[in-house]
């Protein structure tokens, strides 16, 4: 039953299509205010430097997550651990569109967002192992990590709670009169939380500069989108609030970047919020202890072999002769060394001093 349902969902949402992004313009406006839905842009033509940067960033996230999975398996990472493998193009493409002062906030599948935001792999991994040099001094863990310096506002463990918070970051931007935007990420599961729609309403009412990025990886934990969502086109979720939405091939970093540029411009120019539905896929289970029995191995394998975000960039780099296998191996090695160093550091670093039990409760 579950498997049949998941297949239905898969064919309906068609994540990972390599074709161009599709615009889902809002309905014709009724009296009282028009939303001119933006047209969906085609994937951006990347330069060699952009392709190489995207390759490296995505590979760093993938290798980091594989290592995190390994350390979890060895008992060095505790609690819940949600890996981002498969979804790398989303954060890497979006991060390419930001400028100083723009904020990022997300839920608990957050390691990729932090690495994309240029947070130190050592600090992230040391937080995963619960050590004193972790970003939260070992007190937050996988799901609760922050970097004020990098404008990364967490790392939130309650499904959907980051959506009003990200809307509040946008409120602060508008209050201060700057043109910064808030990138508020959440999943297809969180998209059914009530507070998301409370936020949509206020963001649209007050024209707040917030990009709602719905990472639709097709499964809310183990429940396929079609079994949990009456409207599976998440780009339509803002229609009642006059928030336009675009569906984006979230497996193609160029498509993400193009849609991201459009959305960032939309917000910076004072038009209010916008929704980007990133159609993506997570290769691993919901968390480390999820065997992912709710979907077929063929489904996962098909995504991996036909739509892998890193492989797509690799193929383009080779086809355009911008890099050969040897050159890419050098990058692979660099990335592997960074991740290995982070893992070594995260195991050698001491646990927090016991006095930390009572610090950071109140200022």
């Amino acid at each position: 039953m579950a498997r049949a349902a998941s297949k239905t969902a898969a064919s309906k949402t068609a994540a990972g299509k390599t074709t161009a992004t599709k615009a889902r313009p809002a309905k014709k406006p009724s009296a009282g205010g028009a939303v001119q839905a933006p047209k969906s842009p085609p994937p951006e033509n990347f330069t060699k430097e952009q392709e190489l940067a995207a390759y490296r960033e995505m590979l760093l996230i993938r290798r980091f997550e594989e290592k995190a999975g390994q350390l979890y398996g060895m008992g060095l990472i505790g609690g819940f651990c949600h890996l981002y493998i498969g979804q790398e193009a989303v954060v890497v493409g979006m991060q390419m569109t930001l400028k100083e002062g723009d904020q990022v906030i997300t839920g608990y599948r957050d390691h990729g967002h932090m690495l994309a935001a240029d947070m130190e792999p050592r600090g992230v991994m040391a937080e995963l192992t619960g050590r004193r040099s972790g970003y939260s001094r070992g007190k937050g863990g996988s799901m609760h990590m922050f970097s004020k310096e990098k404008n990364f506002y967490g790392g939130h463990g309650i499904v959907g709670a980051q959506v009003p918070l990200g809307t509040g970051l946008a409120f602060a931007n508008r209050y201060r009169g700057n043109d910064n935007v808030s990138l508020t990420y959440f999943g297809d599961g969180a998209a059914n939380q009530g507070q998301v729609y409370e936020s949509f309403n206020m963001a649209s009412l007050w024209k707040l500069p917030v990009i709602y990025i719905i990472e639709n990886n097709r499964y809310a934990m183990g429940t396929a989108v079609a079994r949990s969502s009456a409207e599976t086109d998440f780009s339509h979720r803002g229609l009642s609030f006059k928030i336009p939405g675009i569906q984006v091939d979230g497996m193609d970093v160029r498509a993400v970047k193009a849609a991201g540029e459009l959305a960032v411009d939309w917000c910076r120019s004072g038009k209010g919020p916008i929704i980007l539905e990133m159609q993506t896929y997570r290769y691993r289970g919901h968390s480390m202890s999820d065997p992912a029995k709710y979907r077929s191995k063929d489904e996962v394998q098909k995504m991996r072999s036909e739509h892998d975000p890193i492989e797509q960039v690799k193929q383009r780099l080779i086809a355009k002769k911008w890099a050969d296998e040897d050159a890419l191996k050098v990058i692979d090695k660099e990335v592997r060394d960074i991740v290995g160093d982070a893992a070594d550091f995260a195991q050698a670093d001491p646990e927090p001093d016991v006095s930390e039990l009572y610090t950071d409760i109140l200022l």
Binding site: Y153, G168, L169
Partner: protein, 466 residues
């Protein structure tokens, strides 16, 4: 040197599992992400993926083996350039993984050591400053609690651009209970923000704005409606400073009327003092007088932490003397001795003080000299002042309108028992609301709340004057 592939744990509680199936054989090349084996426990089956690139040199555990302990080497992986001959070089592990294989029991800060209660460090003591001296000759102005709260907000908004107020009906309507009267006219709609009826959402928006460095005052039309928002208050506002290792927190005030009003029945009549006082990372203030309302709200707005500021609809219209000073700020976390006395101590807060004060007057007539302490702040709680008083009077009665189980009074009684047991000449009596949802009928409503006679009886009981 070949790399060991270890038996992984599916969860922190897993100790062993079955190696159900090998998907690679000796001599196969593997890349990171390749599934090499399936393992199973009684709960689930999981695939094991390769993390490193290389060639499977040797399978150490055969397919179908049951009860394989976590972290047991299950295969050896040969790196680029290595051959089968390298397998004899003995089990080598990447340096990165070495510490994991050997639990570092010589480390003082090993998690197991923390389980020893004796080694749990003591909580640091919070010291609140004393109330500021009010210069002699300061003019005292009779002010309602409502006006005092409004004045506090207006003064802080004048002095700090980051302060703004948001909530339902705070602007155009001038406040559902008129606490924000005039603020829109003075500060404009950028800083006095009417929200839709959407508590969960706007509480979260406020917390997000606070993360970004603004200083929001979020008004709940009543704290009953803040139940819709309690996740944002507790999980986002209160815990972020800790979870962020001190990097960011929420300098925010959540305020509004709390507790029973009159004839509004169960869903609109509940005291949240005990609820919020349970949560580390919050401060909880519940003033009684107009002077305290003003001085403490100003302090709450300046405080870098999330502050729950519990007001009361019935108190809004009551007048008290407020010192006419340019900047009258009171310390959060400091109780106020409302009336000195020697025979018994009554501790209360907020509207509970109305019963305490009247009872003390009545008891004075009966020759019992009661000391009345107004806690003012529920968290952090000034237990030192309570205990000093108990050491003098040896008797304690607490008074509040909230439900009796796990009440503020119950906490005080427990602390006094632990810290001043030998000073007690009678068991502590906790006067509270009845253990029932608030009824609507006037007679039942009256029965559900504490009353002055009950407080008088309690003091007589602890002083053995019955």
């Amino acid at each position: 040197m070949p790399v060991e592939i270890l038996m992984p744990a599916l969860s922190p509680t897993m100790e062993e599992g079955n190696l159900a199936k090998w998907l690679k054989k000796e001599g196969d090349s593997v890349a990171p992400g390749d599934v090499i084996a399936e393992i199973e426990t009684d709960k689930a089956t999981m695939e094991v993926e390769a993390v490193d690139e290389g060639k499977i040199g040797k399978l150490l555990i055969s397919e179908g083996t049951e009860g394989v302990k976590v972290n047991t080497p299950i295969a050896l992986l040969l790196a680029d350039g290595e051959t089968e001959a390298d397998l004899d070089k003995g089990p080598a592990k990447p340096a990165a993984e070495a510490p994991a294989a050997q639990p570092d029991d010589d480390k003082a800060e090993a998690p197991q050591a923390k389980a020893d209660a004796a080694k749990v460090p003591a909580a640091p003591k919070m010291e609140a400053a004393a109330d500021p001296d009010i210069p002699e000759g300061t003019e005292m102005v009779s002010t309602t609690v409502r006006e005092a709260l409004r004045d506090a907000m207006a003064e802080e908004m004048r002095s700090d651009e980051r302060v703004f107020v948001m909530g339902e009906e705070v602007a155009e309507y001038q406040g559902a209970y008129k606490v924000t009267q005039g603020l829109l006219q003075e500060f404009g709609d950028k800083r006095v923000v009417d929200t839709p009826i959407t508590e969960h959402g706007f509480a979260g928006v406020g917390v997000g704005a606070a993360f970004a460095g603004l200083k929001p005052i979020v008004e709940f039309m009543t704290f009953n409606f803040a139940m819709q928002a309690i996740d944002q208050i507790v999980n986002s506002a209160a815990k972020t400073l800790y979870m962020a290792g001190g990097q960011m927190g929420a300098p925010i005030v959540f305020r509004g009327p709390n507790g029973a009003a009159a004839r509004v029945a169960a869903q609109h009549s509940q005291c949240y003092a005990a609820w919020y006082s349970h949560v580390p990372g919050l401060k909880v203030v519940m003033p009684y007088t107009a002077a305290d309302a003003k001085g403490l709200l100003k302090a709450a707005i300046r405080d870098p932490n999330p502050v729950i500021f519990l007001e009361n609809e019935i108190l809004y219209g009551q007048s008290f003397d407020v010192p006419k000073l340019d900047d009258f700020v009171l310390p959060i976390g400091k109780a106020r001795i409302h009336k000195q006395g020697k025979d018994a101590t009554i501790v209360s807060f907020g509207i509970g003080m109305t019963y305490a004060v009247k009872a003390a007057e009545e008891l004075a007539g009966a020759g019992i000299d009661v000391e009345v302490i107004d806690l003012r702040t529920i968290r952090p709680m000034d237990l030192d002042t309570v205990i000093e008083s108990v050491k003098k009077t040896n008797r304690l009665v607490t008074v509040e309108e909230g439900y009796p189980q796990s009440s503020v009074g119950a906490h005080i009684a427990s602390q006094v028992m632990q810290r001043a047991f030998d000073h007690l000449d009678a068991p502590v009596i906790t006067v509270a609301g009845r253990d029932v949802p608030m009824p609507y009928a006037a007679n039942l409503e009256k029965l559900a709340l504490p009353n002055v006679a009950e407080v008088v009886e309690a003091v007589k009981a602890v002083t053995y004057r019955n």
